[in-house]
Amino acid sequence: MSELLSIKNVSLFYDHIHALRDVSLHLDKGETIALIGANGAGKSSILRAITGLQEIRAGTIYYNGERLDGRQPDAIVRAGISMAPEGRHVFPYMSVKDNLLMGAFTRKDKTEIAEDMHKVLEKFPRLRERFHQSASTLSGGEQQMMVIGRALMSRPKVLLLDEPSLGIAPKLVQSIARSIVAINRDDHVSVILVEQNSRMAMRISHRTYALITGEIVISGNSAELQNDDRIRKLYLGGDTA
């Protein structure tokens, strides 16, 4: 497999708060990797660094052999990286349809955009029922599906998902997990999945990185790590799902 995205020795600060310390990780083509860790461990910060929403202080980020860090977020989307952010950043006063179309903002190919819209609605049929409703009136789970669908509308090569299971009923979590697997396997999108639901994340990913206070402390094959004592103790203790 070939390396699609690689982060090397990245440090990130919010003012004086040191959120990432010398973080290195990579994502291969066709892979799903999971980032797990407690609140404030720095998972979202890694995604914000990749998408250019937050500047990094040290280190490098390469994508497809090209330097990514220092570029503006819109350039990074155009390069093929798309993110469904934490906390469901929907456009509240746009319809579901317009939210999804915003996802295709960087594209011009009208017929293919329509095809992709069709595919997204097939993946998340609930969105079809809510198509003309304004996004602020959707339930949390529906908003989450819409945000994932919207991220797919740019036809990304890399999809970054920040806690898609947050605040969602267990049954819906399973369905979202299945969608993520399908996006990776059938649509050939490489995925970085940030999750607090470590069990789910490790089940559907190839490899896992575990973070503690801004540092990657454990990494490896997800199937093997599920039985790793340290991981069990740190993350799988009280988890259900």
Partner: protein
């Protein structure tokens, strides 16, 4: 009575155009543009120069006003507001910058055009009257009123149905999400600021046709613009339009009915606004860009 309503509508349309620009800038950048009234006056002088002084067509004057303010807005955003917003997370920083800009424009305008009121030849002669002179409107006010409404309509259509319009609405509703869709916050922030300034300039250009322009009115126009935006709800298009017409009506009615009691129209308007805002602090439609 009918005459008062017609005057109110005429005034309201112009006010709405001013308020739209201010609310656009606020929605996109979270900047309170205290220099909005000065931008309006600057637009007025551009039309005065082209149409009044050089004797070229009024429409060309408006175009020059629009383009000048478009450029001023773009430059001010890129070289002043953008760096300040990037370096400082505090709202006061951009507010102080805007206030400084207002004083700066005031001085420039005074220096270039002096204190004298400048009028221009009528764009069109004659008056219309209805119902045996119950309602009388000069033709030039009709032309200006129709132009204003057309500009408001054009702006709304632009925001609603074009790609840059969508980009700006997205930025106003959720800046992070918009950036993640590939909307350049820099580019569309600049465009929005430029368009907001342009609307002020166009309103100023239209004003010259019927009332002329003088250098000192920028500050009070800014305050009126803030009033309208607060009545309607900051950052909302229908709110700005509603606020514009409400203020226009209040002013028109106030000037006719309260005149007998002295110059208290604005005192009454301010007092009622304070009461209104204490009941509805977010204005009539206090939600972000829709």
């Amino acid at each position: 009575m009918e005459q008062i309503v017609v005057n109110g509508l005429y005034l309201g349309a112009q006010y709405a155009l001013i308020a739209l620009g201010l609310t656009l800038i606020f929605a996109l950048m979270n900047v309170l543009n205290f220099a909005h009234g000065q931008m309006y006056v600057l637009g007025g002088y551009m039309t005065y120069l082209v149409y009044g002084k050089l004797g070229m067509p009024f429409a060309l004057g408006l175009a020059v006003s629009a383009l000048t303010l478009l450029a001023v807005g773009a430059v001010v955003e890129k070289f002043l507001f953008r760096p300040v917003l990037r370096k400082s997370a505090r709202d006061e920083s951009s507010m102080l910058l805007a206030a400084g800009l207002a004083f700066f424009f005031d001085s420039i305008i005074l220096l270039l055009f002096g204190q004298k009121q400048h009028g221009v030849p009528k764009i069109i002669e004659g008056v219309q009257n209805w119902g045996d002179f119950t309602v009388v409107i000069p033709n030039d006010k009709i032309v200006v009123g129709v132009c204003t409404v057309l500009m408001i309509a054009a702006f709304i259509i632009f925001m609603q149905y074009t790609k840059p319009g969508r980009a700006m609405r997205a930025l106003a509703q959720d800046r992070t999400a918009a950036q993640l869709m590939g909307v350049s916050a820099d580019r569309y922030g600049m465009l929005g600021f430029a368009l907001g300034a342009m609307l002020a300039g166009l309103a100023g250009g239209l004003l010259v046709a019927t009332t002329g322009v003088s250098s000192g009115i920028g500050g009070s126009i800014s305050i009126k613009a803030f009033l309208m935006v607060m009545i309607g709800g900051a950052g909302v298009v229908p709110g700005a339009i509603a606020g514009g017409f409400i203020l226009g009506m209040m002013e028109s009615f106030g000037l006719s009915y309260l005149r007998a009691y002295g110059d208290i129209t604005y005192l009454v308007i301010f007092a009622s606004l304070m009461v209104f805002l204490s009941i509805r602090p977010h204005g009539l439609m206090g939600k972000p860009w829709g």
